[in-house]
């Protein structure tokens, strides 16, 4: 369908047991789509966690998702970062490359272009760390596949709005 939109939603929640299950259960129970979900405590004094969800749906579904999230008792605020203006979105990936010889050299060369860092190395392997937009990471991973990529670990997207205004 043509009117499917992709939105990044930031949810500030009271950090209590079961909150992630509530959010995930809401998405699966109502048939909403989760493209990416990240969560971590961001304010330990007030015991607040931030969940960043990338989701897809028609405008009516996106509106429902936000209303349903707001309705959860431990949810403080829901912000649709995509709708509210320009955002910075970042994701981190760790890639493990195995092999030796020409492919190993080539992967190092490409890593340099993508500003990937080597965070572990042995004679026959590297672990690269890259941050960037999900698209950049996709591109990097695709390039690495033929060069001995054996394992990928991604964090999922975190996002924040540009400018001085805060949630």
């Amino acid at each position: 369908m043509s009117d499917i939109e992709r939105h990044t939603i930031a949810v500030l929640v009271d950090n209590e047991p079961g909150i992630l299950a509530r959010v995930v259960g809401l998405f699966s129970g109502r048939g909403y789509n989760i493209a990416s979900l990240t969560v971590a405590e961001v304010d330990s004094a007030n015991s607040l966690s931030r969940i960043t969800i990338v989701t897809e749906g028609t405008p009516m579904i996106i509106e429902q998702i936000k209303a349903q999230l707001s309705r959860l008792v431990p949810v403080r605020v829901v912000h649709d970062l995509t709708e509210e203006g320009s955002t910075v979105e970042r994701e981190l990936v760790l890639l493990k490359m195995a092999g030796t010889g020409e492919k190993r050299i080539e992967s190092l060369r490409l890593a340099d272009i993508f500003r990937a860092r080597v965070v572990d190395s042995t004679i026959e392997s590297f672990v690269f760390e890259v941050t960037g937009s999900a698209e950049k990471l996709d591109a990097f991973i695709n390039l690495m596949k033929p060069l001995g990529l054996v394992e990928v670990s991604r964090t999922g997207v975190v996002a924040i709005s540009r400018g001085a205004a805060a949630i």
Partner: protein, 588 residues
């Protein structure tokens, strides 16, 4: 020990007292024994011992819906909690405020597959408004007070508090409700945005073919909101239809009332929904039983939607003017805004609209013929209505055709008099619900309008009813079929009545007697009035078994996937437009 030091079980009793709870519906078991012990040692709080935990939840629903208060349930861990799940789901769907206390294995055994352990918060997460697992006795009082607040505020719903047994024995500090700060993350919005009120008023003033569509949210808001709703309907002289959950929000005798709307609603209500130019939804949620095919739903109207829950807005139907807030507060704001504008309706347009509505009314879509020696189910309900309407009567129902006929034919003048399972459609709801209503209103007449199949789903509660001498009347409209299923099989499955015949039914008169109640039977139309009068004259509980026409179908009916103007009006009308589309077949 100082006065606010006590064990968890005592805290539970104290918190219930401080929340104004006077009755708890429950069933004991190992994990909640400390609470039963604390109950034993006091006499303020009344405990009603049900016969199955499912009965306790429906009883609490009946209690809550008929009083506007929070219903309270107490069950043990494991099977006690899982038996409560249907009732919790029912309460969630129908926005009924409940607090359900469940026992749990001690904290150090959680996760060990301990005896009677179930992941109660996990299981009930999707079927409660919120739930808690209390692991520290010093959190207990706060959580209990918060649970009551969450259950009754905003859009009401069921809340579960899971209580590990060691927490019930542990000593901690009790906090009174006023010592508990409402949490920042939960602040339901009750006051409407004035800008939205202005937009709504604009639409209301300029409407040519307006319609009020009132729902359960008005009942949730309370009797004052219902009064205001009546006031608004009267001052505008606009027609009004109600959902199954909204019955009683406007007196049925009001001349602007068009009757039930939706799948089994009246012709005039549904035609008005289809033809209106401004729809004013007050506390209804555009349920699929009401809208029919969404793409053909009220195609030419601007829609105002008043609801306390923003997730109800634009869920199924596109809204032009959403007004988020409590129905009572919104109605008050609308009325004063209309008064300030010296509102008077567009007389010419309105009288033209009323002329059309009166034409539709003439179709008399609820008409039935009591001819012949067999009692028509509609006639049974009509006579029950005529013989009980002048009393303080509360009606509960089970689920099926009898429920729909009751909704169509029993006229409610007041809110909170009609208790039915709307959203979940839970067979077995009516008998325990009637029990809860009767506990709350000991001197009122409480009748469960039942089907012979549904009543068997919670028949064990007859034992509770007899134990507490509750004079509940069970009026079984006995067609020996799961009538609603049979009707769908007739209309959609070529009359192949697969497993819908009620085989081997008990003798309901003897069954009543076996429980210690009275049993009566009516098989001929001329017996009916006498039997109902006898039922009313008996001071205790009575089961009335009314043998009715097995083949009767409930009309009007909007078949699944059809539009409001494609309603089937009666058996002879089956062909005209009322055929079910392929998309319709897959709908429930």
């Amino acid at each position: 020990m100082t006065a606010n030091q006590m064990n968890g079980a005592e805290m539970v009793i104290k918190a219930l007292g401080d929340q104004g709870v006077d009755v708890v519906f429950g069933y004991p078991g190992g994990a909640v024994l400390p609470i039963y012990d604390a109950l034993f040692m006091q006499n303020r709080l009344r405990h009603i011992l049900v016969r199955q935990e499912g009965g306790a939840v429906h009883a609490a629903e009946g209690y809550a819906r008929s009083t506007g208060k929070v219903g309270v349930v107490l069950v043990t861990s494991g099977p006690g909690a899982t038996n409560a799940v249907t009732g919790l789901t029912d309460a969630l769907m129908d926005s009924i405020p409940l607090v359900c206390l469940t026992g749990q294995v001690p904290t150090h055994l959680i996760g060990n597959d301990a005896f009677q352990e179930a992941d109660t918060t996990g299981i009930t997460r999707p079927c409660t408004k919120h739930n808690y697992l209390v692991k520290d006795v010093n959190d207990l009082a706060r959580v209990l007070h918060e649970a009551f607040y969450v259950a009754r505020s905003g859009r009401p719903g069921p809340v579960v508090v899971d209580l590990p047994k060691d927490v019930l024995f542990a000593i901690g500090t009790y906090l009174a409700p006023e010592q508990v700060e409402p949490r920042k993350s939960y602040r339901p919005k009750t006051d409407p945005d004035p800008a939205r009120i202005a937009e709504a008023v604009d639409l209301i003033i300029n409407a040519k073919r307006p319609l009020f569509y009132g729902g359960g949210g008005i009942i949730n808001s309370g009797p004052d909101a219902c009064k205001l709703f009546g006031e608004l309907v009267e001052m505008t002289n606009y027609p009004c239809t109600l959902t199954l959950m909204g019955l009683g929000a406007l007196p049925a005798s009001d001349k602007r009332y068009l009757g039930l709307v939706g799948m089994h609603g009246t012709y005039e209500s549904n035609m008005a929904m289809h033809g209106c130019d401004v729809m004013i939804n007050v506390g209804a949620r555009f349920d699929d039983r009401v809208t029919g095919r969404v793409s053909a739903f009220s195609p030419n109207s601007k829609k105002i939607h008043i609801d306390i829950d923003s997730s109800s807005i634009n869920k199924n139907v596109r809204i032009d003017v959403p007004v988020i807030g409590d129905a009572g507060k919104v109605l008050e704001a609308l009325i004063s805004a209309l008064k300030a504008k010296r509102f008077s309706p567009d007389k010419t347009a309105l009288s033209k609209w009323w002329k059309q509505l009166d034409e539709w009314r003439k179709r008399d879509s609820l008409h039935f013929d009591q001819a012949g020696p067999i009692i028509k189910p509609q006639y049974a309900i009509e006579r029950l209505y005529q013989l009980t309407k002048d009393r303080e009567t509360y009606i509960t129902t089970e689920v099926g055709q009898h429920q729909m006929w009751a909704a169509q034919l029993y006229k409610f003048e007041k809110p909170n008099r009609w208790m039915t399972s709307g959203g979940l459609g839970t067979m077995g709801y009516g008998l325990p619900a009637a029990m809860g209503v009767q506990i709350a209103h000991p001197d009122a007449l409480v009748v469960d309008i039942a089907g012979e199949a549904s009543i068997l789903m919670n028949i064990q509660e007859m034992s509770t009813i007899c134990q507490y001498r509750l004079p509940v009347k069970i009026f079984i409209v006995n067609n020996q079929y799961m009538g609603m299923v049979r009707q769908w099989q007739e209309l959609l499955h070529g009359g192949r009545y697969s497993e819908s015949y009620s085989e081997s039914l008990p003798d309901f008169v003897k069954l009543a007697e076996a429980f210690g109640a009275s049993g009566l039977r009516a098989s001929k139309p001329e017996e009916l009035d006498d039997v109902i009068k006898q039922m009313l004259a008996i001071p205790g509980p009575v089961i009335v078994d009314v043998a009715v026409d097995q083949k009767e179908n409930c009309f009007p009916m909007i078949p699944s996937g059809a539009a409001h103007n494609e309603m089937i009006l009666g058996p002879s009308d089956k062909q005209s437009g009322g055929s079910v589309s392929e998309e319709g077949m897959v709908l429930v």
